[in-house]
Amino acid sequence: MKRKTKSILFGLFVGLFAIGSLVLVSCSGSSQLVTEKTGAQLWGENCVRCHNAPSPPSFNDYQWETIALHMRVRASLTEEEVAKIVEFLKMAN
């Protein structure tokens, strides 16, 4: 019974969370297509989903290419996102 209550609470959390997120994201007014975004935007939005956004001078241009391929596999980033993020990192380096 106690476990059922916990499961219900967890379900409620997920439901409320999804609704809250919907409201928050809708308020931000961002409905831009991923393909229309700049590399800087994609870098800021995607890296922080797991860890802090890396600083461009942390690695050289060639290293960024290898890291980008690694992240494309690990984080299932799309080809377009990876290309733009790498372009940004190289430019900012």
Binding site: R3, K6, F10, F13, V14, F17, A18, S21, L22, L24, V25, S28, S30, S31, Q32, L33, V34, T35, K37, E45, N46, V48, R49, C50, H51, N52, A53, P54, S55, S58, Y62, Q63, E65, T66, I67, L69, H70, R72, V73, R74, A75, S76, L77, T78, E79, E80, E81
Partner: protein, 403 residues
Amino acid sequence: MKRFNKLSMMVAVLIVGFLLPLYGQDAATLQQEVDALKPRLSRFLLRGYAHSGFEKFEEGSSFVGGSFNPIFLWQQSDRLLFEAELEVELENGTTRLGLEYANMSFILSKRAIVRVGQFLIPFGIFAERLHPRWINRLPSNPLGFSHGEQVGPSSALGVELRGGAPVGSGKINYSVYVINGPTLNDGSVEAEEVGQLHYDNYEDNNDNKAIGGRLGILPFSSSALELGVSAQMANVGDRGSVYENTGAQLFAVDVSFVKNITPLKSIVDIKAQYNLTRVNRETYTVGTETFRFKNESNAYFVQGVIKPAFVSNTFLQKLELAGRYSALQLAPDAPWGAEKTQWAVSVNYWLDWRTVIKFSYQYTDSPVSEHLEAEGGSGGGGAEEEGGTPLGGAFLVHWSFGF
């Protein structure tokens, strides 16, 4: 005077004429040396992470860690990547070397990548994305997500197809895999673990392979929200045993929300995952004893982090506050049944984007008192020692370092 000027000019011309070819030679040599250092198709990169710290449990305290995880990345071409991670750590006074993963990926197309070898299983998000010490915002893993009390797989040998694609203003990511799958302990070796699933199955125990996958949906263009569902099915008994056709079904749901909340001048990061494992009901005979129980376990965590990254004070910018609640229930009627809950809070200070010092307090409780002694920690042995998380309160200070 005129003659002197002419002489000076002649000397200058001679000097320039002599030095120019030398300069040209040096520049050409330098260019050659630079070109020689320029990476070609094959590129190697060593990355990884390390951590160390101090832990004070109710029954003792100890410095812990001193471990590091080198990650080897070998890019063979624009489409081929080999990656491997080792785990080097001290355990009971000896150095333990473990292989976290070693696999090869090939970019099949814009939307599909095939991966072969030992890889982190995308069963939820914790094992694959959040477990590295410098990424995990708390010094310990949630209950049910560590060795010794694991509910759900973390890494395995097999083959996987995965990728990501934009859909409307959002995107999706997917993974489908075939692996050796977990094994069922029939009690013949470790009687007290009869009926338990073991996930470190590097040589398959039967001819049935586990099939699983995860679908992640990011409905908004900001990628702020991700909702994921995962499942895995397999027969888990040993080949030729009465349990050969015993099935196990594993499920997980996960949520991630990361967004810059402008009025708070902060980044808010919320993550949650729920894992459920079910093994078909069987009768196990160990010596003269017979066991039959509902073999269902679950574990979940909900974690929130707030980082005031956009305030003007540079000290506060580097601080973050993290909190997590996690719970674990291992098949209540099994000999290894257990139930635990845990609160954990942490104040983290980031020295740079990949180096953090975490000051944390956690309290682990169990309503099932008879399991306390069996599960209870020796104290100071580390938050993730074999056998599970020690009960009671604990202070943990960890320094984690990504490189």
